[in-house]
């Protein structure tokens, strides 16, 4: 469970990034954090694994204070960054997936087993020895997900998982999210493109100018999206029933 209490953070230039944010994410829940650019989504999720320290307030991950114990928080919360190129550090897919488990100080055999399992989970075992810079955008994003899954985190956080991806790329990433969802992982994703995941999420939280405006189920929140400068999904515009974006 993630518990955020009175979280406040200010950027170095003095502008407020987060203003007294209070939020709880239950075990096994999939929470979508959405909001326009610059609303504080990325800043919020970077507090979940202790990458950023709150100016005031606290973030607790399964009882661990993320600011005081960032190492423990990073083990529990795996973060998939918006720009996969920033996250991929290995020359090959296998090397990159091994980066996290090696940092945990695991024995060689366990690292190999975790890498194999993570690559299989995201369906890129055939790319294991391919240089990362030769992969497509969707494949890179899956490598980034595999790198995080190899650390076996309890919670997986996605920062704009569909940014700069084509249709097949989006489908690949969505398929991984669906898999994780079925496995019962706690998931948090940020996006301003609600359409793609709205059918999968349990709750939606709307950020606007650093404030958490509303939290609720998709049925409660979707009709209010446009008032926060977020494009509502097509189904709601046409008065249709909710449709999953991923084809069967």
């Amino acid at each position: 469970m993630i518990e955020i209490r009175g979280l406040t953070y200010t950027y170095p230039d003095g502008s407020a990034a987060l203003k007294d944010v209070n939020l709880t994410v239950s075990d096994g829940e999939f929470l979508l954090v959405c909001g326009p650019n610059g609303s504080g989504k990325t800043t919020l999720i970077r507090h979940l694994n202790g990458l950023l320290k709150p100016e005031s307030g606290s973030v607790s991950v399964n009882g661990v204070d993320a600011a005081k114990f960032p190492r423990e928080a990073m083990q529990r919360v795996g973060m998939v960054f918006q720009d996969a190129d920033s996250q991929i550090v290995g020359e090959t897919v296998r090397e990159d997936a091994a980066f996290g488990p090696q940092n945990l100080g695991l024995p060689r055999e366990e690292v190999a087993e975790r890498v194999k399992s993570a690559l299989e989970m995201v369906g890129i075992q055939h790319l294991a020895d391919k240089p990362c810079h030769m992969l497509s955008g969707g494949e890179k994003r899956r490598v980034a997900i595999a790198g995080v899954l190899a650390m076996r985190p309890e919670i997986v956080v996605f920062d704009e998982p569909f940014a700069n991806l084509d249709y097949p790329g989006v489908c690949q990433v969505l398929a991984e999210i669906v898999k994780l969802r079925r496995m019962g992982r706690t998931l948090v994703a940020t996006t301003h493109d609600v359409e793609k995941v709205v059918a999968l999420v349990d709750r939606i939280a709307i950020m606007h100018e650093g404030e958490l405006k509303v939290v609720g189920t998709p049925d409660e929140i979707v009709p209010r999206l446009s008032s926060f400068h977020i494009r509502p999904p097509c189904y709601s515009l046409f008065g249709e029933r909710m449709l999953p974006w991923l084809p069967d």
Partner: protein, 276 residues
């Protein structure tokens, strides 16, 4: 939102922001050379000037100091190199504080000078738009007929523009590495490898994209220079700064010393029996 302030332009309407970029650029160049010749008292005076200028330009000083702390590692390294190269007898260093200060003074001064130049450079980028720097460089280089002024100016302004972006990119890579507990790695070479490779790859890709986008937007080097004359008041401020730097760096004395030595040399040569 960038997590750092260093080398970013910080919008404002303070006197330093409004000061003509050509004056700022010339002032920065003279200041950098002058600082290299300053003694401790002058360095202290110009450190106070820098603090005052930061206050004047209304930059969040706390965040700036936080940023500059990182450069402390770089300066510390230089201090060590300087100390090892200038200290011949290490027993003096450990024989008491006054002796240590006397022996290590050159190393301290070298670090102080570099640190102060860095501080003023950061201030310069804070209050000057990269576009203004580009125009200023073109203006300075235009009288030299064989120099590609616009290309050089673009190179300089893009360097200034991209330095903070590369540092931001490096920060992003570091954050991603930290998220996967990369900081627990004991092997420093592997740590450097896992940090530098993605940063370089991303920077080179960005440079490629930039070159293509410049070409796509019809970049040309034969555009006319339409900068107005430097306002008298702005030029006056530059003159004051130059005089202060000359005074603080002991330049009048040096100039006098050089002239005296030159006169002596000529006198010697003329009185030499081989010259008739």
């Amino acid at each position: 939102m960038a997590a750092r302030l260093t080398f970013h332009y910080f919008p404002g309407n303070t006197p330093l922001h409004r000061w003509d970029a050509r004056c700022k650029l010339a002032g920065m160049a003279i200041l950098a050379v002058g600082i290299l010749h300053m003694d401790a008292a002058a360095l202290a005076a110009f450190s106070i000037v820098w603090i005052a200028a930061i206050g004047l330009s209304r930059i969040p000083a706390k965040a700036l100091v936080q940023d500059l702390k990182v450069w402390g590692i770089f300066l510390g390294l230089i201090f060590l190199i300087q100390a090892f190269s200038c200290v011949t007898d290490w027993t003096e260093v450990f024989s008491g504080l006054p002796a240590a200060v006397r022996t290590l003074k050159p190393a301290v001064l070298a670090c102080w000078r570099l640190g102060l130049i860095l501080c003023f450079s950061v201030l310069f980028t804070f209050v000057t738009r990269p576009r203004e720097v580009q125009d200023a460089v073109v203006w300075f280089l235009k009288p030299f007929p064989f120099l590609p002024a616009r290309r050089l100016a673009l190179t300089i302004s893009l360097t200034i523009r991209f330095l903070p972006l590369i540092l931001d990119q490096a920060e992003e890579v570091r954050a991603a590495g930290r998220s996967r507990l990369g900081e627990l790695r004991r092997n420093p070479f592997l740590r450097v490898k896992y940090f530098l490779l993605p940063v370089f790859r991303r920077s080179l890709l960005r440079a490629d994209e930039l070159a293509v986008s410049l070409a796509a937007r019809g970049y040309r080097e034969d555009l006319p220079d339409d900068l107005p004359k430097v306002p008298r008041r702005h030029a006056g401020s530059l003159v004051v700064l130059v005089l202060l730097v000359l005074l603080a760096s002991g330049a009048p004395g040096e100039v006098a010393g050089i002239s005296q030595a030159a006169v002596q040399k000529v006198t010697d040569l003329l009185s030499h029996p081989r010259i008739e």
